[in-house]
């Protein structure tokens, strides 16, 4: 190892060194951001104005604003001026309130061409803030691989040529610790961001944010998964971003009112300790518990979202992962002070395939999304296989959600004869063939064979299969689970119109972090009318956007609930926790917001991002359309599998007697009905959000929000 390290160090060449003045954070803000350009090796700080703070709040809001200023309408993801912005928010980095350590990453996505934002744990964002910056933006493209190092103890930034470090995250993550930590105790003060060899070739690249795990003596990672930011990172030839900060304390955020921060945090800690075992068991199994719930409600995506449950689903339930693989009784938070501790780990996991075959590694997860995407959705019902796929996706820097969903698409194409061994270079994509799935991953990492085509995601595959294999475009559009170019995350939405909208209207593309309305809509029937659904599709996306402005995690909001939550007037909102957030924000920043102003903070950024989408050519009604697989049964096979349900709906909702109709006819009638419902929903939501029928935020609405800047109006005026 030392020999390796010496070799690695010998390759280091400092291309730029820049010093800055160390200043403590003041009430959650530094009021400056860091700008790094790796084309011409410029490093500079930019002041955050009071106006920027009050308009964009922080986190993803700052990221969006910096990115907007950095790019032009014609900028493509792989142009040097595309940026990667990383920021936590004003609440981010506090150590008292569970879920306060998130970094928000923003960039133009290779998959969608519009801004993507991804919310990730690990220590990087908080350390960056305590090192002195509310956000960092990286622009340009290096000629050779580089590391950007921010030393928050010394007040120094370096751009370092780094030819010999590995690219795959589990290797470079350890190398970084050995290179930058002064001694054993110091390891905890270093955090890095890296991608992987998969990101070199695929468009579904993700970033790994590290944290040194003292108990396990190893590096663990959390992933900024969605939208291909890892791809942008490697395209810029960044090997790693590294930050050091060694002075973390409970008051690093310098809050206006520490006692309230502590009390609010302690209240939630106690709630979690008392109730988690009876509620979501996040402390034991993390988000994996969702797989059995989703299966029970027919929502677990199975065989490319054809179905919502499977007889073998118990084989990939959380108990299997917990009993056979996950380590127990360790405080696995992704940031300090998160007693929800859902960042689970499989230790000493021995790899059976690929370049690291035989190594025993730490696997972070699996998250529910990975179990759904790389498990049931591709017909794999083997927990071990899912962990192996999970590990390789992470270390190669590939998003498990996009990877799972696109592989499910490939498998359905295989099933329908669009693909065969000749076209895949010998890989057999029968449902559940984990050997092929793993080989596909390794091909992506090497940039070879079918992996090269597949790694570009579903939208590109559709183009390729149509052009080169003469595949039926309409069928692929129906079953290819992408919208705006981004692959769906892992929920079956056929029976929840509101959730179809939740996905279709999500600004970045179909990710569930804006709204998850399936239970409210389908199970509890709480939002029956279009107006109700539209209200939910206004409130929840705005509320949940707020987490991204603050550096917060969504999970401690409603994956734990106060004991009396069900008795409140609006249980779905978890009113007590909303109040916690208001209190926390005020206690840290010294401002005086209420829960209405909280929504306004989000609405500003949300509408700004919508306008940003329009500016980049993908923010109008036509871009909010979704594949029919997410709306209803595409095929007769699907219809017949749930015939009783659908026949009943034809009778009761559509007003047609299905008896005597062929399945084909029923599929057609059902489709007309459901597609029409979706359009009506879109109308209602646009109206509620203050947008035109074409999905454009109205100037008067932008004015009301205080974001009617000239360059913003210029964009919308063209579409009125």
């Amino acid at each position: 190892m030392t020999q390796d390290l010496n070799k690695i160090k010998s390759g280091h060449k400092i291309l730029k060194e820049w010093s800055y003045e160390l200043k403590p954070v003041d009430k959650g803000y530094n009021m400056r951001t860091l700008y790094v350009n790796i084309s011409d090796n410029t490093v500079a700080e930019k002041a955050v104005s009071e106006e920027m703070k009050m308009t964009f709040t922080g986190g993803k809001g700052f990221g969006m604003k910096l990115l907007w200023d950095g790019v032009k309408p014609e900028t493509k993801w792989n142009d040097p001026e595309n940026e990667i912005c990383i920021a936590t928010g004003p609440i981010g980095g506090n150590t008292n309130y569970p879920g306060s350590g998130k970094s928000l990453v923003v960039s133009l996505s290779p998959l969608t061409g519009i801004p993507i934002d991804s919310n990730v744990g690990g220590y990087f964002g908080p350390y960056l803030k305590f090192a002195g910056f509310d956000a960092m933006e990286i622009q340009g493209k290096a000629d050779k691989d580089v590391i950007v190092y921010i030393d928050g103890d010394e007040g120094k930034v370096q751009i370092i040529e780094a030819p010999y470090e590995a690219v795959d995250s589990h290797v470079i993550g350890e190398q970084i610790i050995d290179l930058f930590a002064k001694n054993e105790e110091d390891k905890i003060n270093i955090s890095s961001v890296s991608a992987g060899t998969g990101s070199d070739h695929a468009w579904i690249g993700c970033l790994n944010f590290s944290m040194w795990d003292k108990r396990r003596q190893g590096v663990r990672f959390k992933q900024a998964g969605r939208g291909g930011i890892g791809t942008v990172f490697r395209n810029k030839r960044i090997k790693a971003l590294v930050v050091r900060f060694s002075n973390l304390s409970g008051v690093s955020n310098n809050p206006a009112d520490i006692a309230t921060v502590q009390k609010t945090g302690l209240k939630l800690h106690k709630e979690i300790i008392a109730l988690d075992d009876q509620q979501c068991r996040m402390r034991k199994v993390g988000t994996a518990h969702l797989s059995e719930i989703m299966n029970e409600y027919d929502l677990l995506p199975t065989l490319n979202y054809k179905y919502g449950s499977h007889k073998d689903a118990p084989k990939i339930s959380s108990d299997v992962f917990y009993n056979e693989f996950l380590s127990k009784g360790k405080p696995d938070g992704c940031w300090y002070g998160c007693t929800m501790a859902c960042a689970k780990v499989a230790e000493d996991f021995e790899l059976k395939t690929g370049p690291y075959k035989g190594q025993k590694v730490l696997v972070d997860g699996p998250e529910y999304e990975t179990i759904g995407g790389c498990g049931s959705n591709v017909g794999i019902f083997d927990a071990r296989d899912i962990l192996e796929i999970n590990f390789y996706c992470d270390t190669y820097g590939l998003d498990t959600i996009s990877f799972g969903t696109m592989t499910a698409f490939i498998m359905e194409c295989w099933e329908n004869g669009i693909l065969d061994k000749e076209k895949t270079g010998g890989l057999d994509f029968t449902w559940g063939n984990s050997d092929s799935v793993l080989e596909l991953l390794h091909q992506i990492s090497r940039g070879e064979g079918f992996g090269k085509i597949a790694g570009k995601g579903i939208r590109e595959m559709k183009n390729y299969f149509e052009k080169h294999f003469g595949a039926d475009r309409k069928f692929m559009d129906d079953i290819g689970m992408e919208a705006k170019g981004l692959e769906y995350s892992e929920y079956v939405t056929k029976e929840s119109l509101a959730m179809q909208g939740g996905y279709g209207l999500a600004l970045k593309g179909p990710q569930h972090d804006e709204a998850w309305l399936i239970f409210m809509d389908m199970v509890q029937g709480l939002i029956p009318t279009f107006e109700d659904k539209a209200e939910a599709l206004h409130y929840f996306p705005m509320f949940r956007t707020w987490f991204g402005l603050q550096g917060l995690c969504k999970l401690p909001w409603n994956d734990i609930e106060p004991a009396d939550n069900a008795q409140t007037s609006e249980p779905a909102k978890v009113p007590e926790h909303v109040q916690n957030y208001v209190d926390l924000f005020n206690a840290i920043t010294g401002q005086h917001i209420d829960k209405e102003e909280l929504i306004l903070q989000s609405e500003r950024v949300y509408n700004f991002q919508r306008v940003f989408n329009i500016r980049m050519g993908k923010g109008l009604r036509e871009h909010d359309s979704i594949p029919y697989r997410s709306v209803g049964p595409v095929t007769v096979e699907e219809y017949e599998s749930r015939a009783e349900r659908y026949d009943k709906q034809l009778k009761e909702k559509v007003g047609i007697d299905p008896s005597g109709m062929s399945s084909e006819e029923k599929v057609k009638v059902m489709r007309e009905y459901r597609e029409d419902q979706y359009e009506k929903l879109i109308d209602a939501v646009y109206e509620r959000r203050g947008w035109t029928k074409n999905g454009v935020p109205k100037p008067e609405h932008l004015k009301k929000l205080g974001i009617a800047f000239d360059d913003v109006l210029d964009v919308v005026n063209k579409h009125l």
Binding site: K214, S249, Q262, L266, I273, K330, P331, G333, Y336, G337
Partner: protein, 130 residues
Amino acid sequence: MAKYLKTYPEKCSACGTCMDVCSETFFKEKNPLKSAIKIEPKDGRVLMTVCDQTCRLCVDECPVQALTVNSAGVVLLNKNKCIGCLACVSVCPINAMMWFEGGQTPFKCIACGKCAEACPEQALEIVEEG
């Protein structure tokens, strides 16, 4: 090995001397909120709350390993490492991990025995077992 402060509530008169001594020793002021032992008269009896050094749930919970067990079996909190998250306070089943509002770190009984020496009723005793 376990060394801990044993309590005899039936002997305690709730005079509060122990709390004064404890807070004086560690915080240089007489303040029951800053004492690692709490005495509360309740329903005609006295509740004596102090760490018994046995369950160690806090040690497992601490994200930065600021809590450790020394060779005498006493759970100690390293203030330099502590990041003040208060997770340990929330997991303690007997509320013996203490904290007062605004305090940057929690604190707890380290079985030093100063209070036991001062107790006029012999209601406290340092015990070593194992």
